[in-house]
Symmetry: C2
């Protein structure tokens, strides 16, 4: 059977390995597996959220309120925007997909940092758009500007991952705003802020305020997620904030019931437990220092991270894939960044006890 | 901002109204609302499933096993196919979307019955494909054949909704197989069997066996869902069964983690509670008779239904929209089919007590 030609070149996103796989393949008890591969919240999910999921479990047969009225209202309050400025996605990934389908096509291009979240490129290829990346791996706004100006007529979307996954760096909000000011009003600028809670907590200069962003620049789309700091990775809820013109266009591509009934209840409740978020952010910042100390002591290169993970870049003497494979057999799942073209491992900052074991085992491998 | 031109003509699916809306707009206590608008299971969700959701609630922070290994394995056993013949979607809707993006484009067309599930047309418009529909509202296989043969080179996908939503009719499996045998091997035939559990239970001649289907015809894609008989409408899990060539192509379009961690656990458990399904099917068949009797007694036209809903078609003296609106104010949510171009109301078969109240209130309106 013949399929659309663009399918031939579609890469597939390589997800972090699940605990179930390690159990199946190496017979390790799930309790003994440490998974620090997918930047999930190591503290799990807020107890308040767990309660609401249990309370609402019997609603599993009912489709959600497809207007997502209450959740949009809560987000609108949090960010001081209107509900009309908000779209809900099955993870913020899905809103990336909507953006590509709304704005890009085989005649246009997207622009990203040299190494950034893989889904921008994957979704761009779904619609046959060209991809421009900076030579710099990290977000180099000067270089992004030059590349943008060189291909201005072609570039329909610019993706800024703030802070950047899988590298961890984050330009200051002021630099970002300065960059956006040179972009044409017809180019969509997506600021993917999946990890911004961690960045803001470490350094307030990194804070992107969606209200300010979309007021200043009509062509911007702010993305947030419940998957990281909010501890709902498994529930698949993200959101986009933009001017109504953009939201209306994206809404046309949203299928009904794109998040589950329990995801909706969980996300709403997650917004009500700011203490859980604070605890998450504190644990992350404290434990990040443990990793940094380890790296410095052992001569491992790393990028100062504004996220809930740290990326260790190995020199030629070390083979990151080999290290990741060896640890996997011991029940420690980390993220090998080979598919990003790096001899590096991305480690989600876990709980104290987890981090201790991971570093002890890593020490044996280097 | 300029968007892709095809967005201008995209219709938006009109979902059944949620209980929350009736509560918000008319101040009716959610307990007093009867929602028979979205073909959800009136018996709710199996107790076994509710238990597993509660048990796994604390896994909400963890992404699901993206291979969906266990669920595919269970479905493979149920249908006697290989796991490699299966793809999991966020509802079977999502697999319809994948099919369109894999196979259709602005140079091709799709073929459907005159009135059928709205998402085929909506997703077709996402990729700019043309839509051919039979003049007959219901599935008229003779007419589908004629239309197919007249536009053979253009038609890339044929959607058969078996049984048909929102009309309820269902051709015999033998007729369907005969029809598919005349279709070119390069045309994808999707048999959307979201409601087939109800059809099979009423009449075994309606049973489509996916193993037989995909063995006989390499160009077929069988769709099933957990949203209807399995009582998981709110959890968004569907599946496609096809030959590996088709499954591989569709997989390229699947984003990682397209169902939630709790949806995965719920679907797996739902397959283990066949008693719940039997109870569902029995209630449906018994209560369907109550609606048929009412319709006959009151001179309302209806299509004998092989699903969990019945569609009442009103004559010119009655206004279906008005009737639906009046009932809505009383806290009874039914599905007005105006957006399908019909002066009709689709009613999900509820529990005995619900049906009694719905018919008593409907009686006052006609």
């Amino acid at each position: 059977m013949k399929f659309n030609t663009h399918l031939q070149n579609l890469p597939i996103y390589e997800a972090g390995k699940p605990i179930e796989l390690v159990t199946r393949e190496f017979g390790i008890d799930p309790k003994d597996v440490i998974k620090l591969a997918s930047n999930e919240n190591p503290l799990g999910t807020s107890k308040k959220v767990i309660s609401i999921i249990k309370e609402k479990a019997s609603n599993a047969s009912l489709y959600p309120d497809d207007s997502f009225y209450e959740l949009k209202d809560a987000l609108a309050n949090l960010y001081e925007v209107s509900s009309k400025n908000i779209i809900i996605g099955s993870g913020s990934d899905q809103i990336i997909e909507f953006a590509l389908h709304a704005k890009a096509n085989e005649k246009s291009a997207i622009l990203t940092a040299g190494i950034t979240f893989a889904m921008y490129e994957i979704y761009a290829k779904h619609v046959g758009a060209k991809i421009y990346k900076t030579k710099s791996k990290e977000h180099n706004l000067k270089e992004l500007k030059e590349l943008y100006l060189a291909h201005k007529d072609e570039i329909s979307i610019i993706f800024l991952c703030l802070p950047n996954n899988p590298l961890g760096e984050c330009p200051d909000a002021k630099e970002v705003m300065d960059f956006i000011s040179i972009v044409s009003e017809d180019t969509l600028v997506v600021t993917d802020c999946a990890y911004i809670e961690f960045a803001k907590f470490k350094d307030s200069k990194k804070a992107i305020n969606p209200k300010e962003l979309i007021s200043k620049f009509k062509n911007t789309l702010y993305l947030g997620t419940f998957s990281k700091a909010y501890g709902l990775g498994g529930m698949r809820v993200g959101y986009g904030i933009a001017n109504t013109e953009i939201i209306t266009a994206l809404h046309k591509l949203r299928a009904p019931f794109n998040i589950t009934t329990l995801s909706l209840a969980a996300a709403l409740q997650a917004l009500n437990d700011q203490k859980f978020i604070e605890k998450t952010l504190k644990n992350n910042l404290e434990e990040m220092k443990v990793y940094e100390k380890f790296a410095k002591k052992n001569g491992i290169e790393f990028i100062p991270s504004y996220t809930n993970f740290i990326t260790f870049v190995f020199d030629k003497k070390q083979n990151a894939s080999q290290i990741a494979d060896n640890l996997l057999k011991k029940g420690i799942i980390l993220r090998n960044l080979k598919s990003y073209g790096l001899n590096a491992i991305r480690i989600t900052i876990g709980k104290k006890k987890q981090n201790k074991r991971v570093l002890a085992e890593l020490k044996k491998e280097i």
